[in-house]
């Protein structure tokens, strides 16, 4: 059984997706979704336990030997990303029940769950596979399903947002495919480990450099790295609440993983960064993203948009750590994948409850809700504190590791950018909190029934997780260090 875990990780949500379509009833689909995500979370926990000491699991799909067959290959970093993706989905499952019923047409609910499960399959598949082309296939699965679920958002603008995301996502996917194609042309193989062995022989070939260029840009689009970020705010803002939360917590993390995996495992850092500007370019874009994202967030009136712009700033942190090419930097990035997922997930879910209650996510819809919905307000505040990086929250742990990593390279300007960005986040988060607690409630119509316990459970699980990681981060930090060591050690 344990030997089959890697396959189960993707098969569970995939089969559950089909089952949802067969079940057709909203309640049945939700149950199916919940059980599948929980089972998939359990699998990823087992995988993390198996790999956290530095072991690498390899699974031959269908019994075909790599490099000819498709290989699932799990090291500390994959397992960690799998844990984030499946964990976020599992935590959000209880929240989904009421939120989806409120936002999605009754007759489409089962299709919605099926698509969300497909999207998860894609994200988990990207993270687990050791085959470059297989990665592209899963990327398309996750992208196509996410266009559809974004378009199902209650506001009609969701259609345009999904369309723009479709264009950009397709460009990004195609770029990645071109990069993979160029590599295949050079080496005749698609297995990542095999590519890593064969590419050095092609060193200094322009084709190899072009391949890296296409893959980096393609992944940066999916990652929404400035200035390729423009699809993200609207896509997050107009998607259904569950989708905003889930994508914000997982999709960009997986894209970051793709970027790191290709640069560090396939191309190997010593050649990818050798004498070229890639590192500097990534740092510069990351710094601009951190500042610009935060500044724009300050001017938003729709809290979903505000959170989306803050994500763009936070992606800057993630890319910055990866661009440092040091163990400390990669460890900070790995940790931030988790911490940002937990903080943003918490914020989007709390906001989701508010949308469920008031029907809107504009600042004016939030006015005074901190008093009428004390539990939701408090969870939002915890998420906001974590995003700002206050001690005893997860966000602080990353900020600390990232600043240590930046200081190690004596890049003081970048350290200043990180500090400035977190000061700006106080301003935009402060605005929301002020509205939540100190504005008179608006006269709009709100639902009279109390907030469902299941929704609150999800929100508070994430809020408490923020505090738990902030108070005791060692287990995750150890995994992050192992992952960073493996990436720089060159072991795929």
């Amino acid at each position: 059984m344990t030997a089959q875990l890697p396959a189960l990780q993707i098969l569970l949500p995939m089969l559950a997706s089909a089952l949802c379509v067969l079940l057709r009833s909203p309640a049945g689909a939700w149950l199916c979704f919940t059980l599948a995500t929980w089972a998939s979370f359990a699998v990823s926990v087992l995988l993390v336990l198996a790999t956290r000491s530095g072991a690498i699991l390899s699974y031959e799909m269908g019994g075909w030997e790599p490099p000819f067959g498709i290989e699932l290959r799990i090291d500390a970093l994959n397992a960690f990303v799998l844990l984030i993706v499946s964990g976020m989905a599992a935590v959000m499952a209880p929240f989904a029940r009421s939120s989806v019923l409120a936002e999605i047409e009754q007759t489409r609910v089962y299709l919605f769950y099926a698509l969300v499960l497909l999207c998860l399959t894609g994200l988990l598949g990207i993270s687990i596979t050791g085959d470059a082309f297989n990665l592209f296939v899963f990327l398309e699965i996750s992208s196509l399903s996410s266009y559809a679920i974004i378009a199902m958002g209650p506001n009609r603008r969701a259609l345009l947002a999904a369309f723009q995301y479709l264009i950009m996502g397709t460009v990004g996917g195609t770029f990645i495919l071109i990069g993979i194609g160029l590599m295949y042309m050079l080496t005749g193989t698609l297995n990542m480990a095999d590519l890593a062995e064969r590419l050095p022989a092609m060193a200094d070939s322009r084709t190899e450099k072009a391949a890296l260029g296409f893959i980096v840009v393609g992944a940066s689009i999916k990652l929404a790295l400035f200035p390729l970020h423009a699809w993200l705010p609207n896509a997050y803002a107009y998607a259904p609440s569950l989708v905003s939360a889930l994508l914000a917590a997982t999709a960009t993390k997986v894209a970051a993983y793709v970027l790191i995996r290709f640069i560090y495992t396939v191309f190997l850092p010593e050649r990818a960064f050798d004498g070229l500007m890639l590192s500097e370019l990534m740092m510069a874009l990351a710094a601009i993203a951190m500042i610009a994202g935060s500044v724009v967030a300050i001017f938003q009136h729709n809290v979903k948009l505000l959170l989306a712009w803050s994500s763009i700033a936070q992606i800057g942190y993630i890319v910055l750590g990866a661009a440092l090419v040091t163990t400390a930097g990669l460890a900070a990035t790995t940790l931030h994948l988790l911490n940002h997922a937990v903080a943003k997930g918490c914020l989007f879910l709390a906001l989701g409850v508010i949308v469920w209650k008031t029907g809107g996510a504009r600042l004016s819809d939030l006015a005074g809700l901190g008093r009428t919905l004390p539990w939701v307000g408090a969870a939002f505040v915890i998420g906001a504190l974590s995003l700002i990086g206050v001690p005893f929250t997860g966000g602080f742990i990353t900020k600390w590791y990232l600043l240590v990593a930046v200081a190690e390279q004596e890049l003081w300007l970048l350290a200043g950018a990180v500090v400035l960005s977190s000061l700006l986040s106080i301003i935009y988060m402060g605005r929301v909190i002020e509205t939540l607690y100190f504005r008179a409630p608006s006269q709009g119509t709100t639902r009279s029934e109390p907030v469902p316990v299941l929704m609150l459970t999800s929100v508070w699980l994430l809020a408490l997780l923020n505090v738990a990681i902030g108070s005791y981060s060692e287990p995750f930090a150890a995994i992050a260090r192992t992952a960073a060591g493996q990436l720089l050690g060159g072991t795929p």
Binding site: F163, Q164, I167, M168, V171, G172, F175, R206, K209, A210, L212, G213, F214, V216, V217, S220, I221, P227, L228, A230, W231, P233, N234, L276, M277, L278, L281, V295, V296, F299, Q300, L305, W309, L385, V390, P391, F392, I397, W400, Y401, L403, V404, A407, E408, A415, V419, S422, L423, I426, I427, G430, E434, F438, R439, S471, Y472, S473, E474, A477
Partner: protein
Amino acid sequence: MLAWLANPAWLLIGAGLLLPLLPYRLRQGLLVLAPLLAAGWLWTMPQPTVVTAMALGYELTPLRLDGLAFVFALIFLIAAMLAGLYMLHLRSRMEPASALVYAGAAVAAVLAGDLITLFVYWELTALASALIILANGPQTYRVTLRYLLIQVSSGLLLMAGAIVHIRATGSAAFNELGLDAAGGWLIFAAFGIKAAFPLLHNWLQDAYPAASPSGTVVLSAFTTKLAIYALARSYAGTDILIPIGAVMTAFPIFYAVIENDLRRVLAYSLNNQLGFMVVGVGIGSELALNGTAAHAFTHILYKALLFMSMGAVLYRVGTVNGSQLGGLYRSMPYTTVFCIIGAASISAFPLFSGFVSKSLILSAVGYEGAWLVWLVLIFASAGVFHHSGIKIPFFAFFAHDSGIRCQEAPGNMLLAMGLTAAACIGIGCAPGLLYGLLPYPVDYAPYTGSHILSQMHLLLFSALAFTVLMRTGIYPPELRSTNLDFDWVYRRWAPAVIERGMSGLAAARNGLHQSLNQAARRHVQGPRGKRVESILAGHAWTTGSMVLAVTLVLVLYLLSYFS
């Protein structure tokens, strides 16, 4: 984990976190009992105590108790207890809860034995204290945000300095640093902001008067004295602190004299008192450090007492503007007496607490032979008497009768003021009580003939000056006006400059756009302002421009490879 929580400070933080969930009576009990229990715990703890724990990959010291830490932690707990008593009547939950967390964080920071722990609690004090200001109502939102940004900047400077220091030396220990240590200047700047160094001081006068009557009492005790403690721990004997401190004692006097809001007068006077402590740290001898610790101890008490009395006035009358008050001694006789005791203490009258602590610092300065500094401090002492000793009680309780008739302060406020006043007099009459708590052995007699005589001269001449100025009508009258201080630079001038710069940038951008677009024979729609707005609002992207960005970045990458 236990190493972090087994700390008297966590008794307060825990109580603060628990407080919002409890009914009113229990909340009241917790407010007073938690600091008392913590003080008892602290008292029985052996010195030195050091507790270490692993976190963030370093060996940290969550608890380090020695003489210097003990005296600051003790007075913080006493202040927390008195402030708790003072706010006992509050029905709201946010202010008492934040006050307990704030006091606890300050105690924890004092007990911190390494820079990382210090930073963690440093940030916690910033957050909790911001909540105290915010608890006064939505109108304080902007003040709170300004305050919080400055406090968090101080924290981030400390964090940056700590990282640099740990990287260079491998040690996170929070001990003597000095400016030449790695990261020394960064940490110095972080401490300087919280200690309200000149030009870094405006957050204090800006924020403290904005809090509720009881909120200001809480605020006045912790943040700045925590910074003084940190300076004494890491920068004792740093020469530059002497001129900084001297300037700090002198310049707030002028602002205090012309300020109308009496709580803001006290905020300026708080700044001035900090100057004495900073000078003490700068001299760095055992006597001077004892003086600093002693002055912090007495200062917390009498400053709290003054803020309590003004808070009581604000609570009953609704304003503390000198121009609107006067003659209140008829309605609030007890408060008047307590205020005068506070005023006498801050003015360092013999037999009051300020006298026995300030003498230590003045003598330390004298032994060093720094006569210029000594003269500045003497001038400042006279000024203190002038604005805190005379002006505060005079304009609030005497002067012309404003006709206001109100109730005496509530019982719990009177009790808090009474206890604090008793402490001020007790320390003044029996200085040995205080001297026994100080970090270094004390061999000092405050009550010598020359000390008393020179201090009385000073006070009498200051009083004479006030009388003459009042009689001749030269004394600046209490007017409703706004004083321009250094914060004008960042609240008015800098925004104006940035706005100019931004609109210039927008014009340049716009010009570029227009010429580009003209080349493409198209026209930009909408006026300039709209355009900037839409960029800030983040929706100026069409699908076409998104794809254009992709192309640009790809070209950039490829160029960087083929160059």
